[in-house]
Symmetry: C2
Subunit: 263 residues, 2 copies
């Protein structure tokens, strides 16, 4: 990779900002190009073929920038399109599923431990986490599609009665896990609710996991004091900016937002 490190972050919408947050804290990059497919969000309810098609369109977008690495913040994209992206990209491509599994191996040494994977319908249907966890020797894995959490976070509902009822609805019949993968960019925003329901369970966060993964696999170190970010969205970049302000960081880091090609 070049000296001035430039990363592309691809997400179905605004959720990938939770990964950006971790990357900003790590100071790995001089510049970040964020692309959210806000006009077609969410991906988690879509087909494999559609997800791959949209991801390859995003790849074409990133080819216009001189990026060193593309990070697919979206778990659904990471589940279905990562091989195709790696095959076709002229730069490194990293998803969030491998890092998530790496984080499990670092935190959970007992291969009989109960690992619960949560994600969108599409991510869970792909069985990608389970497959990789099994390759690492884990043999007690549960999966649960918890797509409603995406809608709750989008509606700015981070707790309260609806959240409690939804937690119960999804998890009442599930044995308490030793580790739980928050396999969707939206889920870290309700981390406290997960922890409230599953006390003492180790929570795995894609954003934190990817920082560790980049350190170990690309020898990245946090040398930049400030990361410049450029935002692109297939619709309403102003709304993306609004969410970025609310969720993540101060206004000063938001340098520019642009519409990109239309889909």
């Amino acid at each position: 990779m070049t000296k001035q490190l430039k990363a592309g972050i691809f997400d179905s919408g605004a959720g990938g900002l939770s990964v950006v947050k971790s990357l900003l804290e790590a100071n790995f990059f001089d510049e970040i190009i964020y692309y959210g497919d806000t006009a077609r969000v969410p991906y988690g309810i879509k087909d494999k073929n559609t997800i791959i098609r949209y991801s390859l369109e995003a790849l074409e977008f990133f080819k216009n920038f001189n990026i060193d690495i593309l990070i697919t913040a979206c778990n659904t994209v990471s589940a279905y399109a990562i091989e195709e992206l790696k095959k076709q990209a002229p730069f490194d491509v990293v998803g969030v599923i491998e890092p998530g599994v790496l984080a499990v191996t670092e935190k959970i040494k007992n291969k009989n431990a109960h690992i619960l994977v949560t994600g969108t319908n599409a991510t869970i249907k792909s069985k990608k986490y389970t497959k990789l966890l099994q390759e690492k020797g884990y043999n007690n894995i549960s999966e649960k599609a918890t797509g409603l959490f995406v809608s709750l976070v989008e509606e700015q509902i981070f707790g309260g009665k609806i959240m409690d009822a939804t937690m119960e609805y999804y998890f009442n019949n599930i044995k308490k896990p030793d580790a739980l993968i928050m396999g969707c960019t939206h889920f870290p925003l309700i981390k406290n609710e997960y922890q409230k329901f599953f006390k003492d369970t180790v929570l795995i966060h894609s954003g934190e996991a990817i920082v560790q993964y980049l350190k170990e696999n690309f020898n990245l170190t946090g040398k930049y004091q400030k990361t410049n970010i450029k935002y692109f969205a297939t619709e309403n970049p102003e709304h993306l900016k609004e969410i970025a302000k609310q969720w993540l960081f101060d206004d000063s880091k938001i340098l520019q937002e642009n519409k990109c090609q239309k889909f």
Copy 2:
């Protein structure tokens, strides 16, 4: 209109099947062409410009069929794109908002009655229902974006604790309405829940309203014993078929499903 009546139904996804159900019961049409933009659903969280753009792409699709009338089952499309569609279409175009307002005028004679409009974020933001209701003389109108109901119905959650908590969340501070507009194709599926929360409130259903509207404005009569339906979806028409079976009618009426052009 010609003797063999052919209607196009445009919806953002599968929700428009609730309108199809009413049309089937009315037996107005010899044939229905259903187009669901399942690859880009939901529309209710999108921008005005995006909604118009997607709607005009749908119009191009319908131009390939010899339809007599296009019905936009989606409230969000009806709120933002109906004028543009009417301007550009070589056939009649009818949305669901005008019919919904007509249904209010027929059921609620007192202009001081409290009318509550519910819909997606985009539909409510358009203020289209309110504007038309005001033109009809109503002066006590409330609006509430209730987008989470869409997600609940999509997750097949039609009642229970989450639904109760969501009803409370949205409506606890709202004075009981005399009439409530279920301004989204998904909402009639939770009609009973609406009625449980607002007893004695008159519920306005887009599907039923459009039947009445077509009778009055196009002199349609239910002369067909069987309506043939062809399904088209921008992704996964099989899933559309599955939902159609579950929600609406027997398998025998589903004649054909096809993918249409890709977006």
